[in-house]
């Protein structure tokens, strides 16, 4: 499943906490026309470097659809950043 939201948590040096919900679903909808426009360019690019274009699209789609549930957290002594894809 494509990640439909991202939760970002930032703790700054001033001990301020920011919780941010990014609705990725909206982003995908906005990006969809751009992806359709870029698709022929991507396919031509694949053919130029002798890569099967449909296999490339399938692989990229596979990566996008398996990104949900990815977590990343980085902590410093005085600040931290964490992100969770849903």
């Amino acid at each position: 499943m494509i990640p439909f939201a991202a939760e970002i948590h930032i703790r700054s040096r001033m001990q301020r906490h920011f919780n941010l919900w990014v609705p990725l679903a909206v982003l995908w909808i906005l990006l969809f026309p751009l992806v359709l426009l870029l698709l022929p360019i991507l396919m031509i690019g694949c053919l130029v470097v002798r890569i099967a274009p449909f296999r490339a699209i399938a692989t990229l789609w596979g990566i996008l659809t398996s990104m949900a549930d990815t977590e990343l957290a980085i902590e410093f002594t005085d600040r931290s950043f964490s992100m969770h894809l849903y």
Binding site: V49, R50, I51, R55, A56, T59, G62, I63, T65, S66, M67, A68, D69, T70, E71, L72, A73, I74, E75, F76, T77, D78
Partner: protein, 147 residues
């Protein structure tokens, strides 16, 4: 031969039960699921398929405030499998270059031969891997495990 089957045969030999009764009892025993015996240890439960790969990098004495003290990444196994397929998308000329560089550095691996099945083999062996990295002013522990 298990204990129950032996008892049935003993009862048959002693004439306490008939051959028909013994046959029925043995048939009933065979229908029962196997129970662990006291002498032998039970079969270990099948290992659950891991869903995530966790990479933890802990720094106990960060060199400075800009060095992270903890990096915690959880990646779905599905994403790793999809990532392995990226190797097949490397253009042939770049693939030859990468293979040559790997061979020069003592890693005779053909990256075009890397398949998602190879990842499964690694994951099967990867229960809990901890690597201690000692740097000049920093002690870093890298832990990689599946969950």
């Amino acid at each position: 031969m298990n204990e129950d089957r032996r008892k049935i045969l003993e009862m048959l030999a002693q004439g306490k039960i008939t051959a028909d009764e013994a046959e029925r009892l043995i048939a009933a025993l065979e229908k029962e699921p196997a129970r662990p015996t006291s002498s032998g240890s039970p079969d270990p439960a099948p290992k659950a398929k891991p869903k995530y790969l966790r990479v933890l990098v802990e720094s106990h004495e960060p060199a400075n405030a800009d060095s992270p003290s903890l990096v915690n990444v959880r990646v779905p196994m599905q994403l790793l499998r999809a990532g392995v397929r990226l190797a097949s998308l490397i253009p042939p000329q770049a693939r030859d270059h990468v293979n040559g560089a790997l061979r020069e550095n003592g890693v005779p691996v053909d990256i075009s031969q890397i398949r998602p099945e190879n990842l499964e083999e690694i994951v099967d062996q990867l229960d809990d891997l901890t690597v201690d990295v000692d740097q000049k002013n920093d002690k870093v522990k890298v832990k990689v495990y599946c969950e």
